[in-house]
């Protein structure tokens, strides 16, 4: 937009047109105090703190030109009354006065009024020290009040707005920042005003109260201490805290957090600004879900099984035992009798060393980062191959971009994406949400459509066909192969046939395809429900992105919402049986988690090392297998069900006690720092792995240089497996066996940068660059208005990796696997719904534990009627695998033909009935008595 | 003539006569000193770095611990520096109270310093006990005003923390009344005293030019005959309102410094008497009520100096606009006065080293910081 010239307090400068007076003055370095105004929200002019004098050039009614005074300068017509700066946009030649007596009189008056009922309890108020009301009173306020001190309104002190947020109505200045945040940004309009006059107050309108995943942010933006979080209330004063920069590992967004520590204790979690990841917000899971790091049940010493019991041992003893046992298995049964499972919440360094140890010492490819449940979905490769291009920043995207969300519920899987997508919408982007069932994001969608349960692949094929019909492959700028195969596959299914299969009208499919083609930038986000359709889904979405030209450029590509904080890192690091780091496919694959359990029981695998996963809690098969195993090593934070079955339990350091890097859903590698001392004797995972390696070399175990496996495909291709046939094979130089003497994770990161394709240049020092971290933060003249909102990012905003096809010489295969006919032998499709507050180990000890639901199965009204089921009835599910008894819920949002169960709840497992990512079940009411 | 060989010996760092942990590497030829190298730093405690981590106000009690004999003087120099940096006015009464405290400090410092000097000469504790007895009376006054005898922490930006207790002025008058008797007795016993003359006269001569070159200050400089006193050269606070003289020596030996200190005690008494006469009444206020203690000075730097009992004490502060000093530097008189020790000792006997050191009057807390 064009710039306009304005004069503020006699200083003339140019600002973009459309800016409001508050922001415009700030551009010129002049502060106008505000309470209700917040740059991320629309102005409302409620608090009156930003009153200023505004004048515009007087226009000659005849010529519409500014009238000139005797001195040749335009005559300024000052508005008769003060104007609120936040709601007044600047115009050409505008004159603003923020310091006149009149303005100061108004500012003092507003503050005097605000303080008539505000209690002077700053010493006990949690906001004290980072309180905009304090700041502004000191800077602009009157020295004293003419109001009777005893006339203040008193309310009962804390009111629970929800489980997590408490309201102190006396302190509230009714700026509506919280209400507007919930309405405008989070789209959870659960807060509102009640009553009037001096009893005007904020209330929660929802049931359960304050039902929002983003409620914690309201405590940040509250300019007074009215909203406090139950998590931080009366824990510490803000000036005592030292903030430690870490990265959230609870979901694939990878929000930048600041752990506010007092000495070694975690007091609260605050967002750290990163425009490319979380802006200035975080979700409640990140904010309140970090209490696990100081939970009293954390493991503090290594445990060794002696005489059937786990007893405390020294590190040396435990590591030596692990090395000895594993070496014994290797020498007697070969390395392939050892399997390793590592959690996707570990850092890249841990995961890299884990697979390196297995591949280098044991020559074993029996690696996985999933628990080995029947419901485990295929490894997602297209999220990396066709992932969003380097330089993608959702903060900068708006008009002319389109986001297609398919088979995902970002609210539960990666909550912060809701805020980010909504902000894009606000800037003019289009949002197409395609799901089998309604989600909260639908309310924001420009186009929402529901396909028949289980038909998402047909829907995507329909889209592909519609795109192909329109533009063919003319937008396909990538080197590619298999175009003919694609043409043939697509010709099998017309848009109309697809529409029939998926229940979405053909016109709608064509319209979405058209919109995707028209958009300059396009993001395709897919989640757990889409991925449960199999690898064909991400493959099809990859081809869709390629055909529409939405690949390999900033702002376009795929975003896969994978479980855990670092699934992408686990895939990149090759913690999987069929590929080395960087998606280098192995010609001979090892055993994945799903195959490890039967192999353990059959004795083909003797020893298993589990880092940070708890398969025994969920999977009876894994439990039985672990009981049968010769030797089980578990490195964990807690004594989990799996750890209880282990022969050696090694206490691992949590994310707060170590350094590491994590790769998020947009393939941004971010660095997390150490926030506190080690918990007991717990060690970072990479040190544990290195410790075992060192003990192994002391046993002089020959390093299993995989000479027989030199023949490998260097071609990074996705999901084709053997069907693709042998790719271009080259001899890979096997690196010298390393000495395993890394001193710091940065040394491992340097090795990753050297050896893992795509990670070149990802060094710790590069990650610490703050670059374009964002325009927000504790800038000198902003701090006092938005104090306590977040922390300036001084520790690095991370680096986005290029996706694998950028600059890649090899061709992308366009071949698609055939569409399988859905089986219909049982009446309902069992869908596991990912929940934000689930049985994740890391939620232990947090206030969110209360919000974890009891196990249930949700049905549509139609199905419930058909099966004569009332809410609360006990029902039995049966599938080809087995039976499961659950309590039933009847929910509007569930489509007919679906039995929706929450995934990964504590003490509950659907493994008994699951036959794969998709299971068909029958459901019967259990009549008791 | 016997052929002799040079020998290096250490005096200190642990030695009863080094006034703290201070080390001198002395090269001797027989009994004669050919070279002396002072070694500082044994009491280094990061004073300036700590001060840069603290708020401006939090440094006030830390300045007490520089020259722990003269906490009031340190307070004044630091308070003046911050007041100049921020631009805080100090009420008149507060200025008088400040001068009162610093001049009392000067008396107690010199009483102590002379006591220690005589002690160093081997005349044992008698003189020291005399000095300590007088010092005690002043410390008692300090305690009644500030709440502490040594680490007074009495000054604040814009004044002093509390006004005087009601009985302070009568007790001060009593003290000043009795003071000439003490000083006269001191002088009567020691002036032209045989032992003192033998140990002090012509010993440790610091010539004028050398004194200037080393930029020493305080009684050491004035003992060398240079009438330089910050109170006269650049009057601060309300010193321009008082009538007092600056005593100077002639030769610059230990004896001259001794005489200068005795006379300075008398001059301080003169100033104190004028302070009592001119002291504005309590309505003047002991502190500027508008002065915020939690200061955030504008970006800039300042150097403020006073004539502390030991010499010119200066604070150099750089503000970056935050609540903590960006740079905090102390110009410590003890440290700078100690630097010419080698030149002062060369040619004298080993036994003279402790006397010369004692005549400089150092406090290691200020030397090493």
């Amino acid at each position: 937009m064009a710039d306009v010239t304005i004069t503020v307090n006699g200083v003339t400068f140019r600002v973009p047109a459309g800016t409001n007076v508050v922001d415009a003055a700030r551009i010129g370095g002049i502060s106008i105090p505000v309470f209700c105004y917040h740059p991320r929200m629309k102005p409302v002019g409620m608090c009156r703190m930003c009153l200023v004098q505004v004048g515009t050039p007087r226009l000659d009614p005849a010529t519409r030109q500014p009238m000139l005074g005797e001195d040749g300068r335009p005559v300024i017509a000052m508005m008769p009354k003060l104007q609120t700066g936040c709601t007044t946009p600047v115009s050409e030649g505008m004159v603003i006065n923020t310091e006149s007596d009149e303005v100061q009189f108004a500012q003092k008056g507003v503050l005097e009024f605000l303080l008539t009922s505000h209690p002077l309890d700053c010493p006990v108020c949690d906001k004290g020290g980072e309180c905009p009301l304090q700041n502004l009173t000191m800077a602009w306020g009157p020295g004293n009040s003419r109001f009777d001190y005893n006339d203040k309104v008193h309310f009962e002190k804390p009111v629970h707005l929800g489980d997590l947020i408490l309201l102190d109505r006396e302190r509230c200045i009714l700026c509506a920042r919280c209400v507007r945040f919930q309405d405008e940004l989070a789209d959870d309009p659960v807060l509102g005003f009640d009553n009037r006059g001096r009893n005007w107050m904020i209330i929660s309108k929802s049931d359960p109260p304050f039902d929002s995943k983003f409620s914690g942010n309201t405590t940040d933006i509250c300019p007074v201490g009215a909203l406090t979080s139950a998590d931080f209330r009366f824990k510490a004063r803000v000036w005592e805290l030292s903030s430690k920069p870490v990265v959230c590992t609870l979901c694939p967004v990878g929000c930048n957090l600041s752990l506010d520590m007092r000495y070694d204790q975690l007091m609260r979690v605050m967002p750290r600004e990163n425009g490319a990841v979380n802006d200035i917000w975080i979700c409640d899971k990140g904010r309140f879900g970090h209490r696990f790091i100081e939970h009293e049940s954390r493991l503090t010493t290594p445990l060794i099984r002696k005489g059937g019991h786990l007893v405390e041992a020294s590190w040396d003893e435990a590591l030596a035992l692990v090395a000895e046992k594993l070496a014994a298995v290797q020498s007697s049964r070969g390395g392939s009798a050892i399997a390793g499972l590592a959690s996707p919440r570990l850092s890249n360094e841990d995961l890299y060393l884990f697979q390196k140890l297995f591949r280098e010492y044991f020559g074993s490819h029996n690696l996985d980062h999933m628990p080995g449940s029947a419901a485990d979905v295929d490894y997602d490769e297209h999220g990396a191959l066709m992932g969003v291009g380097k330089g993608t920043n959702l903060m900068e995207m708006g008009a002319e971009s389109l986001v297609l969300v398919i088979g995902a519920d970002p609210e539960e899987e990666a909550p912060l994406y809701v805020l980010r997508l909504r902000a894009m919408l606000e800037r003019g982007a289009k949002l197409v949400v395609a799901n089998m069932r309604p989600t909260k994001l639908d309310r924001s969608a420009t186009t929402r459509l529901y396909y028949q349960p289980g038909s998402e692949l047909a829907f995507v094929r329909g889209l592909l066909r519609a795109v192909f019909d329109r533009v063919g492959h003319e937008r396909l700028h990538l080197k590619h192969s298999g175009l003919e195969q694609l043409r043939k596959t697509l010709s099998d299914l017309s848009v109309e046939q697809a529409a029939e299969l998926c229940g979405v009208p053909a016109e709608t499919i064509r319209a979405v395809a058209q919109a995707l083609l028209e958009a300059k930038q396009g993001l395709i986000m897919y989640g757990a429900e889409a991925r449960s359709a199999g690898a064909g889904m991400s493959e099809s979405l990859g081809v869709l992105a390629a055909l529409t030209g939405k690949v390999g450029k900033p702002g376009s590509g795929l975003i896969a919402l994978l479980p855990g904080g670092n699934s992408r890192g686990a895939l990149d690091m090759g913690v999987r049986p069929d590929a080395r780091p960087g998606y280098a496919v192995l010609s001979q694959r090892g055993l994945g988690a799903r195959e490890v359990w039967p192999a353990l029981r059959e004795g083909r695998v003797k020893a298993v090392w589990i880092a940070g996963l708890d398969p025994a809690a969920q999977l009876p098969a894994a439990r039985a297998a672990l009981e049968a195993a010769d030797f089980v090593v578990v490195q964990e934070l807690f004594l989990t069900a799996t750890a209880k079955l282990a022969d050696v339990v090694l206490p691992a350091a949590s994310v707060a006690e170590r350094e590491g890097t994590y790769t998020n859903a947009e393939r941004r590698v971010q660095r997390s720092r150490q926030a506190r001392q080690a918990h007991g004797e717990a060690r970072p995972d990479w040190q544990i792995i290195q410790g075992v390696a060192q003990h192994l070399s002391e046993l002089s175990v020959p390093v299993a240089v995989p000479t027989q496996r030199v023949e490998e495909s260097s071609q990074p291709v996705g999901g084709k497996g053997k069907s693709k046939g042998p790719g271009k094979t080259t001899a890979v130089t096997v690196a010298e066996p390393s000495t395993w003497d890394y001193l710091t994770p940065s040394e491992i990161a340097a090795e990753i940068a050297e050896r893992v394709p795509g990670y070149a240049g990802i060094t710790y020092s590069a990650l610490a660059a703050t670059g374009q971290g964002g325009d927000w933060g504790r800038q000198t003249n902003e701090a006092i208005f938005y104090d306590g909102t977040n922390y300036e990012n001084s520790e690095g905003i991370g680096i986005q990796l290029p996706n694998l096809i950028e600059g890649q010489k090899t061709a992308v295969s366009l071949g698609l696997r055939p569409l399988s006919k859905p089986a219909h032998e049982r009446s309902l499709l069992l869908v596991s719904q990912s929940l934000a507050y689930d049985g994740d180990l890391l939620l232990r000890g947090s206030l969110l534990e209360r919000q974890i639901p009891q196990p249930y199965v949700a049905l549509s009204q139609t199905d419930a009627d058909k099966l004569n089921i009332k809410p609360g009835d006990t029902v039995r599910l049966d599938s080809a695998a087995g039976e499961l008894t659950l309590s039933a819920r009847v929910v509007d949002d569930v489509p007919a033909g679906v039995a929706l169960i929450p995934a990964n709840l504590p003490n509950f497992s659907a493994a008994a009935v699951q036959t794969g990512p998709r299971t068909r079940v029958n459901l019967v009411k259990v009549v008791t008595g | 003539m016997l052929k002799t060989e040079e020998l290096q010996i250490n005096i200190g760092p642990q030695h009863p006569s080094t006034h703290g942990v201070f080390r001198m590497i002395v090269t001797v030829d027989g009994e004669t000193i050919t070279d002396l190298k002072p070694v500082f730093g044994y009491l280094h405690r990061n004073h300036e770095q700590i001060a840069e981590q603290n708020t401006y106000l939090q440094n006030m009690p830390y300045t007490d611990r520089l020259d722990y004999f003269n906490s009031m003087a340190n307070n004044q120099a630091y308070a003046m520096a911050v007041e100049q940096l921020v631009g805080i006015e100090v009420p008149e009464r507060a200025e008088y109270l400040r001068v009162m405290m610093v001049e009392l400090t000067r008396i107690l410092n010199h009483a102590g310093a002379l006591g220690f000097l005589i002690n160093d000469m081997g005349m044992w504790q008698t003189q020291l006990a005399f000095g300590m007895r007088e010092r005690e009376k002043i410390l008692d006054l300090f305690e009644s005003a500030s709440g502490a005898r040594l680490m007074c922490n009495y000054f604040r930006f814009g004044g002093v923390v509390r006004d005087l207790p009601p009985d302070f002025i009568p007790r001060l008058k009593e003290l000043l009344q009795a003071m000439p008797a003490f000083v006269d007795e001191l002088e009567r016993l020691l002036r032209e005293n045989e032992i003192l003359m033998q140990r002090a006269e012509g010993i440790g001569i610091l010539p004028r030019d050398l004194a200037l070159a080393y930029s020493v200050s305080g009684p050491v400089l004035r003992g060398s005959g240079i009438p330089y006193d910050v109170r006269k050269a650049e009057p601060y606070s309300v010193y321009d309102r008082f009538d007092f003289d600056v005593p100077v020596g002639t030769v610059g030996d230990v004896y001259d410094r001794f005489l200068v200190r005795i006379e300075e005690m008398r001059q301080s008494r003169r100033i104190l008497q004028q302070v009592i006469e001119q002291l504005p009444d309590a309505q003047g206020g002991h502190i500027n009520p508008k002065a915020r203690q939690n200061v955030r000075p504008p970006v800039g730097d300042v150097y403020a100096r006073i004539e502390s009992p030991k010499g010119e004490l200066g604070f150099y502060l750089v503000s970056d606009g935050s609540g903590k000093p960006y740079r905090y530097k102390v110009r410590a008189p003890s440290f700078i006065n100690l630097t010419p020790l080698g030149d002062m000792c060369r040619g004298y006997k080993v036994a003279d080293v402790v006397v010369i050191l004692g005549s400089i009057d150092i406090v290691m807390g200020e030397v090493d910081r």
């Binding site: 309890d121 006990v124 203040k152 009893n199 009366f234 | 006030m60 009690p61």
Partner: protein
């Protein structure tokens, strides 16, 4: 020479008849002045409630970082002080404390006062941590009524009738 000796001895004999200025510590203890800054005490109000509201301003003012306050929330059954907050832990490290008195100055409720006790020796460094139990005065030694600012912090019911005075 003889003259000088006699002159010195005259002084010596003169002091025989004066009172000694020293006191025989520890048998005799020198009284301290009113403003003396010694060991801290945490005061109470006359009704036995603690004055300390756990605001940590003393810890913020402390130049030596000697004070640790861990606050907690008052509940109706466990009302330790007026208002919502009280100090669950209050510790002063007497090895760090420099007795500057800033904690006194910072305290909004005059809860912490430097009293006249100055004999603070201990044989073990760990004993230098003075806990809240050691610092707090007995309940019957409280004095003064809570100022309005604190009573205002008390929970009050909120029927509209009470607001309209």
């Amino acid at each position: 020479m003889i003259g000088q000796l006699l002159k010195g001895l005259r002084t010596t004999f003169g002091y025989i008849f004066t009172q000694p200025v020293t006191v025989q510590y520890p048998e005799v203890k020198r009284p301290v002045r009113e403003r003396f800054r010694g060991r801290h005490e945490l005061k109470r109000f006359a009704d036995g409630k603690e004055r300390c509201i756990g605001c940590s301003l003393c810890a913020a003012a402390c130049p030596a970082d000697a004070i640790l306050v861990v606050p907690a929330e008052n509940t109706p059954d466990h009302q330790v002080s007026y208002g919502e907050r009280y100090a669950a832990t209050y510790e002063i490290n007497m090895l760090r404390c420099i007795f500057c008195g800033y904690c006194e100055d910072a305290c909004p409720t005059n809860a912490i006062v430097l009293e006249h006790q100055y004999e603070l020796s201990f044989y073990d460094r760990r004993d230098s941590i003075y806990t809240k139990e050691m610092l707090l005065v007995p309940e019957d030694q409280g004095h003064g009524d809570a100022p309005p600012i604190l009573t205002q912090l008390e929970r009050r019911p909120s029927p509209p009738a009470q607001i309209d005075l």
